[in-house]
């Protein structure tokens, strides 16, 4: 799409940008004129489901997000939780479902890359990762290819970057045949007084671009992530984003070094619709305007238009506002790590988002409205019809218990996941106390004698389908128990809500029910949700995935010498069953 900026805005064009007629009307009302092509692209990126949470926001607001240890709840790149002694844990989970279905290796790899960036953007060094994966039936013709690609992609990125993978999930069900789920979690450690946010401060300051060059990768990707699949998707492939974990590792080290110098005022990673979302967020949060000059953006392809640059999803890029007097120090660090960087704009006081290229202004939009006045929907929702409980009396006992047991543990969903996690580096950094295979992964807190953190990711989608409210509660409770089973105190959680098309009342009903259940369980257990992600429209030919609200939690162990572990059992130990 190298169309000129003056391209007339037709109904088709509006529709292909995923904007509904009433949403387009809202744009016209806001700016009082027809948008340019670049502006249309910017609106489509900011207002799609993926970035604006327009279908889920109303319900997400009901989740408990506060607590005595919560330093930063939802709304930033990741949540921040106090773990004492001036240390904080920074964590989030995010989906990369659609891209992983189209190109499993790169889709999963860039999913891991994205979540790691969310964590180190805030000034935290990543110390643990998890991945919750859901695939179609084991005998479906695409499954094998998807599984091997996704697992290799998760490992390929995380192993090279150097973060231990300490947990996750793998589940198979025919309902994921056309829409697999790849949910990636990352956690990092930082100091409470050295957390970095995306809010820009100060007028006339340089906006700096750092990291990989911009290409045409994934132009239109954010819009795709919010659209249903159909068979034609095979042809509609956008340029796939390729992950470069080496550049990401350099970016991590450069950012952490730079943050130490005091040069960073605001920082934001470039995720979906990179330049657009990051610049608008920095400006809107800081009550400032942003002016970008695209001639200065490092590009790796010829003749890129403003539209393409604003919507590019090239990976391993950051945008920041720096103190001008620290520029030399900053550029020495970027050069040491071999990263491209450029001053691509400045902060202004007019609350406008302006984009210039080759001397022409191709976008001039009100920045606050772009960020804050995205449409928000109260979509109709239908409660899920109750399914009567199965009467145990009607199920015949197995004639051979040994055989039944073998069937259970030999089943694709019951079998050991060792074949997956042995492809992940689980020991790097030298702090892993419990590797995958137990209830929760445990990592000790570097620099502290006895403290450790426990991580677990859980959900049972068929429970959620049977009863979204109870299933939502159950996912939280299981995560909480898994953390608790190591002896850790569960602190807080992040959620990744994967559902079908929210425009269908029965799907919206699942989402609403699950959020209510999650909210109630988190409230009762004092286990606040501090970050999260929503992935909707996971449907193919009208068939939705099982409702899958993945919950990932973090717990604190004051003394890991007293940790409980699953592999500490010995011959002759007594087994107890606790609970009812």
């Amino acid at each position: 799409m190298s169309a000129p900026n003056e391209t007339p805005i037709t109904a088709d064009l509006i529709q292909s940008h995923g904007l509904k007629p009433d949403e387009y009307q809202r744009i016209l009302d806001l700016i009082g004129r027809e948008p340019t092509l670049t502006e249309l692209g910017i609106f489509s990126a900011m207002w799609n489901e993926h970035c604006s949470y327009k279908s889920s926001k109303k319900w997400l607001r009901t989740l408990p997000t506060k607590g005595p240890r919560v330093i930063q709840g939802p709304g930033e790149n990741a949540g921040v939780v106090d773990i004492g002694d001036g240390d904080v844990v920074v964590f989030k989970m995010e989906s990369h479902n659609h891209p992983s279905y189209i190109e499993p290796f790169q889709g999963a790899a860039t999913g891991v890359g994205g979540i790691l960036r969310d964590v180190f953007t805030m000034g935290a060094r990543p110390i643990a990762a998890m991945n919750a994966l859901r695939f179609g039936a084991p005998d479906h013709p695409k499954t094998r290819h998807l599984v091997s690609g996704v697992v290799a992609g998760v490992g390929g990125y995380g192993n090279s970057f150097g973060v231990p993978t300490v947990g996750g999930e793998v589940e198979f069900d025919a309902r994921y045949n056309g829409n697999i789920l790849v949910n990636a979690f990352a956690a990092g450690l930082a100091k409470a007084d050295a957390i970095f946010l995306s809010e820009a401060k100060g007028v006339g300051l340089p906006v700096v671009y750092l990291g990989a060059k911009t290409g045409r990768d994934g132009v239109g990707g954010a819009t795709m992530a919010s659209a249903e699949f159909d068979e034609s998707i095979e042809e509609k492939r956008p340029t796939v984003q390729v992950g470069d974990p080496f550049t990401e590792k350099c970016l991590l080290e450069a950012c952490l070094e730079l943050m130490q110098t005091g040069a960073v005022i605001a920082i934001q990673d470039m995720g979906a619709a990179g330049l657009t979302c990051s610049a608008v967020e920095m400006g809107a949060k800081g009550n400032l305007g942003i002016e970008l000059n695209l001639d200065d953006v490092p590009v790796r392809e010829d003749a890129m238009s403003a539209y393409e640059m604003m919507l590019s999803e090239s990976q391993e890029r950051m945008l920041m506002v720096l103190r001008p007097e620290k520029e030399d120090e900053a550029s020495a660090i970027f050069r040491k790590w071999g990263l491209d960087f450029a001053i691509v704009g400045k902060t202004t006081d007019d609350l406008r988002f302006r984009v210039k290229i080759a001397g022409a202004e191709v976008a001039d939009l009100p920045i606050k409205e772009l960020g804050d006045e995205a449409p928000e929907y109260d979509r109709p929702h239908e409660p899920t019809a109750p399914i009567p409980a199965l009467d145990a009396e009607t199920v015949a006992p197995p004639h051979d218990f040994n055989e039944a047991l073998l069937t259970l543990i030999g089943n694709a969903n019951g079998a050991s996941r060792r074949w997956v996690w042995e492809q992940y580096d689980t020991m790097i950094q030298g702090n892993t106390l419990v590797r995958p295979g137990g209830d929760a992964g445990v990592v000790r807190v570097e620099g502290h004698e006895t403290k450790a953190l426990a991580f677990s990711s859980d959900v049972t989608p068929r429970y959620v389908e049977a009863n979204p409210y109870e299933g939502g509660k159950q996912a939280v409770a299981e995560c909480w128990r898994n953390i608790n089973a190591t002896g850790a105190e569960p602190l807080a959680a992040t959620d990744n809500l994967n559902f079908g098309n929210p425009e269908k009342p029965e799907i919206m009903g699942q989402l609403v029910g699950a959020i209510k259940g999650i909210g109630e369980a988190c409230e009762t257990l004092a286990f606040p949700i501090v970050s999260g992600n929503v992935s909707l429209y996971n449907e193919t030919n009208g068939v939705a995935i099982l409702p899958t609200p993945t919950i990932a939690g973090v717990g604190l162990l004051p003394d890991w010498n007293r940790m409980a572990r699953i592999d500490a059992m010995a011959d002759g130990d007594a087994l107890f069953l606790v609970g009812d």
């Binding site: 390929g156 080496f246 689980t426 790097i428 890991w560």
Partner: protein
């Protein structure tokens, strides 16, 4: 003895290595960035840690081996200074020509991370003298390209000169290495390359300390 750790972009077990050397010797090793052209003369042990230097792009260790600091490492190796390369460090030493052979993609093609058993096949080297010959130790591995290969002649020499220091034991070869080779030394015995990660098994938190002996040998630490 004074140790130094070489740093390159993309390495990621550098912090593990620095932590291990610090905990075992009581002093933090010096760090040397890739653009340095000399290694201070008071350094007795140079360690190239694991990771993915330059993303392992082209071939593992290939780009790293051509960075300025490596010329200094070659000079020190010739002068008899102890040089130790672990995982990516081993791959780099091969690309530099300080050790013979090559590390190919694992036979099963997957990255593998697990604990394996190693047999100490030569306990007489500067890196293995805290163990007994034939002793079996535990040690983690984490790599994608650890499948050691050398031509017949080179192998015969390595075996004949007892330069294979560690071998995967008890049928647990995780990558298809020829002759189960996990670690070798050069002719002079002062350069060690090994795929497994002894730095990740040195303290109770790691579930054991079988890796310590390698550092205690290399650093000539007084026997406790």
């Amino acid at each position: 003895m004074k140790a130094a750790v070489i740093l390159l972009p993309g390495l990621n077990r550098d912090r593990d290595m620095i932590a291990a050397l610090t905990k075992i010797s009581g002093t933090a090793p010096q760090t040397i960035w890739q653009t340095e052209t000399s290694i201070p003369s008071d350094i007795d042990l140079v360690v190239i840690p694991g990771g993915f230097s330059y993303g392992d792009y082209l071939r593992c260790g290939a780009i790293a081996a051509r960075m300025p600091v490596m010329q200094a490492v070659i000079e020190r190796a010739k002068a008899g200074t102890r040089i130790m390369g672990v995982c990516n460090g081993f791959q780099i030493l091969l690309e530099m020509g300080l050790l013979p052979g090559a590390l190919m993609r694992n036979a099963h093609l997957n990255f593998v991370c697990k604990e394996v058993e190693l047999e100490v096949t030569n306990a007489g080297t500067a890196f293995s003298n805290r163990y007994e010959k034939g002793q079996v130790i535990r040690c983690p591995v984490a790599h994608h390209d650890g499948n050691y290969f050398a031509d017949g002649e080179t192998l015969a020499r390595l075996e004949g000169e007892e330069r294979v220091v560690f071998r995967y034991a008890n049928g647990g070869n995780p990558n298809g290495s020829v002759n189960d080779i996990a670690g070798i030394v050069n002719e002079g015995g002062n350069v060690l390359g090994m795929m497994p990660h002894p730095e990740n098994l040195i303290e109770p938190a790691h579930g054991g300390d079988h890796g310590r002996g390698i550092f205690e040998s290399a650093l000539d630490l007084a026997l406790a």
